[in-house]
Symmetry: C2
Amino acid sequence: MSEGRLIGVGIGPGDPELLTVKAVRVLQAAPVVAFFAKAGRRGNARKIVDPWLTSTTEIHFADPAYRAALVAFYEESAERIARHLRDGRDVALLSEGDPLFYGSFMHLFMRLKSRFATSIVPGVTGMCGAWGAAGMPMAWGDDVLVVAPGALPLADLVERLGRADGAVIMKIGRHLAKVREALRICDMLSRAIYVERATMENEIILPLVEKRDDSAPYFSMVLVPGEGRRP
Amino acid sequence: MSEGRLIGVGIGPGDPELLTVKAVRVLQAAPVVAFFAKAGRRGNARKIVDPWLTSTTEIHFADPAYRAALVAFYEESAERIARHLRDGRDVALLSEGDPLFYGSFMHLFMRLKSRFATSIVPGVTGMCGAWGAAGMPMAWGDDVLVVAPGALPLADLVERLGRADGAVIMKIGRHLAKVREALRICDMLSRAIYVERATMENEIILPLVEKRDDSAPYFSMVLVPGEGRRP
């Protein structure tokens, strides 16, 4: 009996129609579908693929609340997947956006890729979903695009954004006031767009200067469009 | 009679199965499909969507050979599309990768968006296709990812890459020797991966240090994975 394959499946930014044709095919063929979700919740990833799944075995990994527990959590999650793979069952592991771009998938992939066959189904990233929903061209000609997490310290954000033509600041959460300040220093604030839940219900898109408060979920982002060469 | 809508449709990195479900639906419903291609050729974009198209009206824009002709070319292309829109026909304009990320689509979008209804179907970018095919996690935790075109001067490349944790150098073409030098200076050369035609037939993926020559097509890229926080 041959072993199963671990398949990292990018499921896109949120709209179930933004899965690729390949992602839908792979999910519908996989005997086991695995995903991360907060404890006690079904989770956003599982919800996004709901229209495409019929009956499969599901493995739900409940993210631990504390960073200190992450290593043990990923080890245990990897072993639960390994058991299915050893028994010959392919496992499709859901990844919001693209699997290899800031995804939890990567932590299981690194633990399993030397032991089992793996493949990746790339997905539409959250940032592509966001600038598409905003109808905002992001990078032109020779523009340099910088993607930076909002958690960086102010000085570091300013240094990175100072060398950018266009920018995406991801994972805003409690960092919005600092992100505004970095953009102001880099003279990018006036063209920055705030985006929350792009391509999903209750999508929010507005110029950052029009956003009145500094409250933002973890999965929100700020986009600064490039302005490069435009024939 | 109402006017048509211009729809920018991202068709992904090359594998026809990497179109989104939404892109396929939109293409199959659009009475007019428009795309760019070199003069005398059918073009890569048209080829990628071939499995999904039945009978539609097609508009083929032959890219001019010289930059000086680009403005007139885009003006004329926009007017050809505008004629269909005024007559009430939706036009789906194909865009390799994602429509708003270094795409020719944007030049027509900017000329038409104030006059007609528009929408965007985001796509899997060429770079996601490339790192997925390479099986290479690109950005972790607080990594900053820099996307830079290979055409930048050496000093500029070095300055931008010097502030990057992970990097994508796009549109390599005749710039490969310079890109190697920039990566060497930034101490990124040993982990750089060269990728050509990812997700398509004749895909090439190899460590850049193992690539013996400096010949590369325009649509090749170099990936430098981030190495950030990994629990």
